[in-house]
């Protein structure tokens, strides 16, 4: 078995991993970036639509263009990328990472490990929808890979379950590629995707969005032949008898959420029981002092720009640990209050370094007051919705206030006003 000793090992070559590796290298650390696919970029490579990069590059880019910018930085900084590596094991005691690739098994011995493994799509089997198990049922990301990378069309007549952004974007993409997209069903009474995507992906192409509706059965022997839709009560999410409707289609596209991917470390680092993301402090440190995490494996972000920024933070913190050793800067736990879903970080360090809270509201609110503290920050936000994260900057002054008030935990809540 080949052994490689390195300052920092970054697992996952998507937006967070590329940013972390570049940051580490620029701060003088030796970093290796390992990737399961044959190239870096992650899901950006197949997201050919635009709208990426407004925060990081101050311009609107497509996914492949955004990835390419970082690929250049990786080249310019001469960062070692090890593609086609599948991680078998992260050993927390020996501080080793075992991978298998074309040239065999490798044991990496890093001083710091940055986990940027992203998220996976919730699969069909996870939805427990009764019926047969025919071909023609794909997650939106798989369909996206077919259409944008491999030049395959998944079928002729498609129905989309779930109104997440990828589902909406795929409804448009499949329409432009000549498929007939019959509609999008969403179990919740509100869309899971951004309002702009409802407008430009569905309304532009007259694709109906059916809220409080879900697929309750799939039919077909070899290939999907039809699905049964049913209406649900908006508050208790119970199926309403007599609302069953059969839709003939050969393709069902699923856009029903993303799950942070943490199988490699979830047995020994603290994982958020609510969102299944790795719990990190405001320096992206996990509960293991040599393991850092950033990106969709921590919390599923709306914007790749946020993922990049968190990757940079993780790179900075890992470099500091490598160069100065572990610094204890006091950690105050952060607690979810009312109307708060995804939330990161979950510990606040009391040094002077600023950081951002990313907060996902659990319901639509015309007006809401985001409260951090109590008594540290109060900020009124308009048009809060679960599909849009709120980001709140915490400065050195805020931290000073937290120390003065002697808070032992920080409550994050959104009050409807």
């Amino acid at each position: 078995m080949k052994e490689i000793t390195v300052d920092a090992l970054v697992i996952g070559g998507g937006a967070a991993g590329m940013a972390a590796a570049v940051e580490l290298t620029q701060l003088g650390c030796d970093a290796i970036l390992i990737e399961r696919e044959d190239r870096t970029g992650g899901v950006l490579n197949q997201c050919i639509h635009n709208g990426f990069g407004l925060h990081v590059f101050k311009e609107e880019l497509t996914g492949p263009e955004y990835a390419d910018r970082y690929k250049h930085q990786i080249c310019d900084n001469r960062i070692k990328v090890h593609p086609d590596q599948f991680v078998l094991k992260v050993d927390p005691d020996k501080r080793e990472v075992i991978t298998v690739g074309v040239e065999g098994v490798t044991c990496y011995k890093p001083k710091a490990l940055v986990m940027t493994t992203g998220a996976r799509e919730r699969p069909f089997s996870n939805l427990r929808i009764p019926g047969t198990r025919p071909a023609g049922i794909y997650t939106a990301g798989v369909a996206q890979k077919f259409v944008n990378l491999q030049n395959y069309l998944p079928g002729k007549n498609a129905y989309v379950l779930g109104s997440g952004d990828i589902g909406l974007i795929m409804a448009r993409r499949l329409t432009l590629e000549g498929m007939n997209v019959l509609g999008v069903a969403e179990l919740m009474p509100h869309s899971g995707g951004l309002a702009r995507n409802i407008a430009q992906c569905l309304n532009d192409y007259n694709i109906p969005l059916e809220l409080s509706t879900s697929v309750v059965e799939v039919h077909g022997k070899e290939r999907l032949e039809s699905i049964t839709l049913m209406k649900f009560t908006p508050d208790t999410l119970q199926p309403i008898d007599g609302t069953q409707r059969e839709v003939v289609c050969d393709t069902l596209i699923l856009s029903v959420g993303l799950l942070p991917q943490n199988e490699l470390i979830e047995d020994f680092v603290q994982v958020d029981p609510v969102n299944k993301g790795v719990m990190v402090d405001s320096h992206q440190r996990t509960s293991h002092p040599w393991i850092f995490a950033a990106g969709n494996n921590v919390a599923v972000y709306d914007l790749v720009d946020f993922v990049t920024l968190e990757g940079i933070q993780a790179g900075k913190a890992a470099a500091r640990m490598i160069q100065e050793g572990f610094t204890d800067c006091g950690q105050i736990p952060i607690v979810r209050g009312n109307n708060v879903g995804a939330l990161t970080p979950l510990f606040c360090c009391l040094d002077e370094a600023p950081f951002k809270f990313y907060i996902r509201p659990t319901k639509n609110m015309d007006k809401g007051r985001v409260k951090i503290g109590p008594g540290v920050i109060q900020k009124v936000e308009m048009g809060l919705k679960p599909s849009e994260m709120v980001d709140i900057q915490i400065t050195a002054e805020h931290k000073e206030k937290i120390k003065e008030m002697g808070l032992t935990q920080i409550l994050v809540e959104i009050e409807e006003v």
Binding site: N45, I48, H49, N50, G51, L54, E60, L61, T62, P64, E65, D68, V147, N148, L149, Q150, N151, L176, E177, L194, A195, R196, I198, A199, Q200, N203, D204, D302, L303, G383, E388
Partner: protein, 120 residues
Amino acid sequence: MEKRKITCISCPLGCEIEAEIDGDEIKITGNRCPRGKEYVINEIKDPKRVVTSNVKVTDGEYPLASVKTTGAIPKDKIFLLVEKLREVELQAPVTIGQVVFHNLFDTGFDVVVTRPVEKR
């Protein structure tokens, strides 16, 4: 007088903008920035979209290269563009920014490649 509610697509905020249309006069409320105003006026007079899609590539590491219009083109030309793109076949290697169509439909915008594709 006509009233319309338009979701601005300029950024992820997606403002719900109300427009009161009275002949040539358009009164706008609900936008959080000047881009919203511009978008709604365009949306009423001449709706436009940036279009992204793919074109075929021969001898490439991928069979496709992604492309975009360099600016928003009239909405009613989207399907025409998609038809035109089906006819295109680029030879690898393909580079980012490589022009596929110059001055598309006389809009002043081009269709350019957004993904580099190396030779296989």
